[in-house]
Symmetry: C2
């Protein structure tokens, strides 16, 4: 018996993989966070859904595992990819107590990729992905990663850049990165990727510091070679010089 | 007029997004590297294809841009995502000389995500993606990124870990990472993700150093919290302790 942990991409119907679509279609029950379940209900109105709120992750996984144990085909859904800040890890950890249940991870297009495609091609070369949420990670660890990733000249993608409680975190992150990255570094952000109200902007790291951004936004900070070409954010891979 | 730069995922039919499939179906011409075109010919036997060899990237993009200019619907294809070590950046750079052509990036599931799903859930938390190919990047830059990413305790995904000319690069990379990561760090690799002959292994960083791996392999090096659970590579996000 398998529990499918499915990343359904940015939220547009066609951003989903064929595997994700087929898995959801063949499920008896789709379980997820309320906001994501509401998106999927529109695409699969005939399906049974169960949604729970934020910080209910362990309950959600436990319910999913129990339903599989009782013979149901269950998909536990995550936006983007099911690994990246998603539920796949927790599902494996908790499945130890459900020895008859196997976990099957169905990968999806994470916001670094779907957002990157909106901005142009910021991620053609080495990059680092960092979440600014300190709900599950101490801020000094986040700060250390920002510092070292900047020093390494990675293009950096910031997930969870802001929330009501963390309104100044993006500014703090920019200050740290500015110790190693030039103020003119090309940056960009995309909010509501692939959904109604999608919005994006290209700007410099200095400008990014003063920008107010909500929690549905993914932020991209270029490396030293990233440039703006016709309003797009492009990190060259080097082919043009070969 | 648009040039579609399409990431088609790991190579299995259902690893493609619905958007990628629809884009390829509606194209007059699909252009790509020989190996990728051969994969797609099986899925879209009715389509027109044009393939060129390695190191022909600039020619390939130029041909694609010219075909769009002449009125054709053209997809330029990349395995995985079209940004990550793909062609999207070059397409934007070269499109400057084709002012009537707009570039549309169609994101795909890159090997870090499709490979991660095979291994378990190594990428639930912050991570860095580094290519070991020094064809377009000097090795001292690669070395610096490996060092700083290890110091930052990122889970690290290595693309292009090996080739005939670079047979000892993975060993070198492991030596650098071992300065900051414990020899017992949980690692994994997957070759031929989603294709015939898919093969994966979980092992320690010390063991990885002695492993011989081909160029169709993606390598994952855990962070300090990554563990092996029932033969899977899992990086906890922290929920289990909340």
């Amino acid at each position: 018996m398998k529990l499918y942990v499915v990343g359904f991409g940015c939220g547009s119907r066609d951003g989903m993989t064929i595997e994700a679509e087929n898995t959801l279609k063949s499920s008896d029950l789709i379980i997820g966070y309320t906001v994501y379940v509401d998106i999927l209900k529109k695409y699969f109105p005939e399906k049974n859904f169960l949604s729970t709120g934020m910080k209910m992750e362990k309950d959600r996984v436990k319910t999913a595992l129990k339903c599989v144990e009782s013979g149901k085909i269950v998909s536990l859904v995550c936006s983007g990819d099911s690994e990246v800040y998603g539920m796949a890890g927790l599902a494996f950890e908790m499945s130890v107590e459900f020895p008859t249940v196997e976990i099957k991870v169905v990968a999806g297009v994470t916001a670094a990729l779907s957002g990157g495609a909106v901005l142009g091609a910021p991620l053609t070369h080495d990059f680092a992905v960092i979440s600014l949420s300190d709900l599950l990670t101490p801020f000094d660890k986040i700060e250390k990663r920002l510092r070292l990733a900047s020093q390494a000249d990675f293009t950096i993608v910031l997930y969870n850049p802001s929330s009501r409680k963390r309104a100044d975190y993006l500014k703090k992150a920019c200050e740290i990165m500015l110790n190693f990255k030039a103020p003119e570094t090309v940056c960009g952000y995309v909010s509501n990727i692939g959904r109604e109200g999608q919005n994006s902007k290209i700007l410099t790291l200095r400008e990014l510091m003063g920008e107010s951004i909500d929690m549905f936004t993914t932020v991209f900070v270029g490396n030293s070679e990233t440039k703006a070409i016709n309003g797009k954010m492009i990190t060259p891979r080097g082919y043009a010089n070969v």
